[in-house]
Amino acid sequence: MGQASDIKNQYKKRTLFQETWRRLVKNRGAMLGLGFLVLLVLAAALSPVIFNYEVDVIGQNMQDRLMGPCAAHWFGTDEYGRDLFARVVYGARYSLIIGVGSVMLGLIVGTILGSQAGFHGGITDSIIMRGIDIFYSIPNIMTAVVIVSLLGPSTVNLMIALAFSCASSFARIVRASVMTIRDQEYVESSYAMGLPTWKIIVKHILPNCLSPIIVQITLLIGTTIISASSLSFLGIGVPAPAPEWGALLSAGRGHIRDASYMCIIPGLAIMFTVLALNLLGDGLRDALDPKLKK
């Protein structure tokens, strides 16, 4: 008896979160990514305190135009004399909000569609999945172009446009996981106990498909940040003068010969953010499902 309780004490029950965290901490790449993201989120959150939006971020100052990186302006200034450092740091807010917002919106829609398709099967599944297949056949950027031209360019509409492609990707993952879980005994028993379908899905099925969803969230935020900046680069994303990273690159393109730093720096910001998210996503995948680790 004593031995049993010893073993019990030694192997304390850990929650999924604790167990994942324990494995994640050992992954140097993932920790590096997480560290960078924490700093970025802090900078984005504090940027309205550090910078005055009207003066530092969008206020024009023509005598300082196109100054290269120096002590006064770490990242240099743009064609209107605006400090690029302030604009890049402030721009993190746009990229993060658009990235997280579209993925969350896509997650909600995709989870509803995917769980319905996976749980009910048959005709519901066919209709939903064929719809998603059709959607997949149009390149993402074209869908976004259609939606943004339909709704008009704004941050929220950009998020809606990007959420579409996230939704189809979540729907596929959730459907696949739900299909493997729906025939388990505990689902059958809750069915027998008379629980309504939505409750079975929300309480018993979805918590068991969390791992692939969490990994996908991390990786999709990165992809979405790139897509958002691509659309802003094409001029159909966040309207000027907001310092979204893609818009900064689009402005820098006009000065590629005389002020190449305007092209280099915002791109580095995008790349390191997405890199951090990818490192964290890969780390989470290994931590949540050690079987997959190669």
Partner: protein, 311 residues
């Protein structure tokens, strides 16, 4: 096999119907009144009304869509508001340029990533593997239009090796193709590596070695051939990435393809051109997906047998 191809082609029809309906509907809601745009600023109301009647803009939506589809079958997708040229013809003129860019990009990606993927798999958990994976990680994290800008700065402006844009000789294709192909190469490297790792652990690899095959033979004949299916799947799934990449790369490098056509048409609010181009792009994607499915069959006799049975 032929029956299967025919069946797939027939199945494309409802997909094209639904896609074109959605795009036509969405685009007809945008862009204001086409008659006003065509008539110009000084037009009288009667002139505008006449144009509206000529274009069939007074018809109900479903009739307009029906007419559009009827036209599409005969290759008539209306006229551009801006250039007054035939939409279908303009698209077809631009298509070879985009296919050339996309094809070159896929070629570059495959040539780089297959050997790299195999190499990193063979040297798993060494610094060579880590270096390859870091390359792949950067490749997937980089916005490709930014890579395009960086290539222009380095190879065109600083070193003067390649033109900054436009379509000229073969040298003008290099930078745009690398721009589109780099991200693809990174993804294929990762897939090749993990697919090869799966195969390397199989018993038949040991058997091949025991039979006295050279290591090169073991890897290429016994290993790679079996690892190819997931790799082809990955390439097929990324075709949408190639199209998206082309739109951006064509904008960065002023490459006269479909992407640039769509971009220019959007900025000029040329609704018939945008509608036509996007519908044609989705048809193109369907055809590419079909081709990818057929390539599977070519590499995997098991899938071929399945198709023949189904057909």
């Amino acid at each position: 096999m032929l029956k299967y191809i025919l069946k797939r082609l027939v199945m494309l029809i409802p997909v094209i119907m639904v896609t074109s309906f959605l795009i036509f509907w969405a685009m007809s809601l945008t862009g204001g009144d086409p008659a006003l745009m065509l008539a110009g600023d000084n037009a009288k109301p009667e002139q505008i009304e006449q144009i509206r009647e000529e274009l069939g803009l007074n018809d109900p939506f479903i009739v307009r869509y029906g007419n559009y589809m009827k036209g599409m079958i005969t290759g008539d997708m209306g006229q551009s508001y801006v250039t007054k040229r035939d939409v279908f013809k303009t698209f077809m003129e631009r298509l070879p340029n985009t296919l050339m860019l996309g094809g070159a990009a896929v070629l570059i990606a495959v040539v780089v990533s297959l050997p790299l993927g195999i190499y990193t798999a063979i040297h798993q958990n060494t610094w060579k593997d880590t270096a390859g994976m870091i390359f792949a990680l950067f490749g997937t994290s980089m916005p490709n239009f930014w890579l395009g800008l960086m290539l222009i700065i380095l190879f065109s402006l600083k070193l003067g090796l390649f033109p900054t844009g436009g379509k000229g000789g073969l040298d003008s294709l290099v930078l745009p193709a690398v721009t589109v192909g780099f991200g693809l190469a990174a993804l294929i490297t990762r897939t090749t590596r993990s697919s090869m790792l799966d195969v390397l652990r199989q018993d038949y690899m040991t058997t091949a070695r025991a039979k006295g095959c050279s290591e090169k033979q073991v890897i290429t004949v016994h290993g790679l051939k079996n690892a190819l299916i997931p790799i082809i799947t990955a390439i097929g799934l990324q075709m949408s990435l190639v199209i998206t990449g082309s739109v951006l790369a064509e904008t960065v490098f002023s490459w006269p393809g479909i992407g640039r056509l769509v971009y220019d048409s959007i900025s000029k609010r040329d609704v018939p051109m945008v509608t036509g181009a996007i519908i044609m792009c989705s048809i193109l994607m369907c055809v590419i997906n079909l081709v990818v499915d057929l390539i599977y069959a070519f590499f995997d006799p098991r899938i071929k047998a399945q198709y023949s049975k189904k057909g």
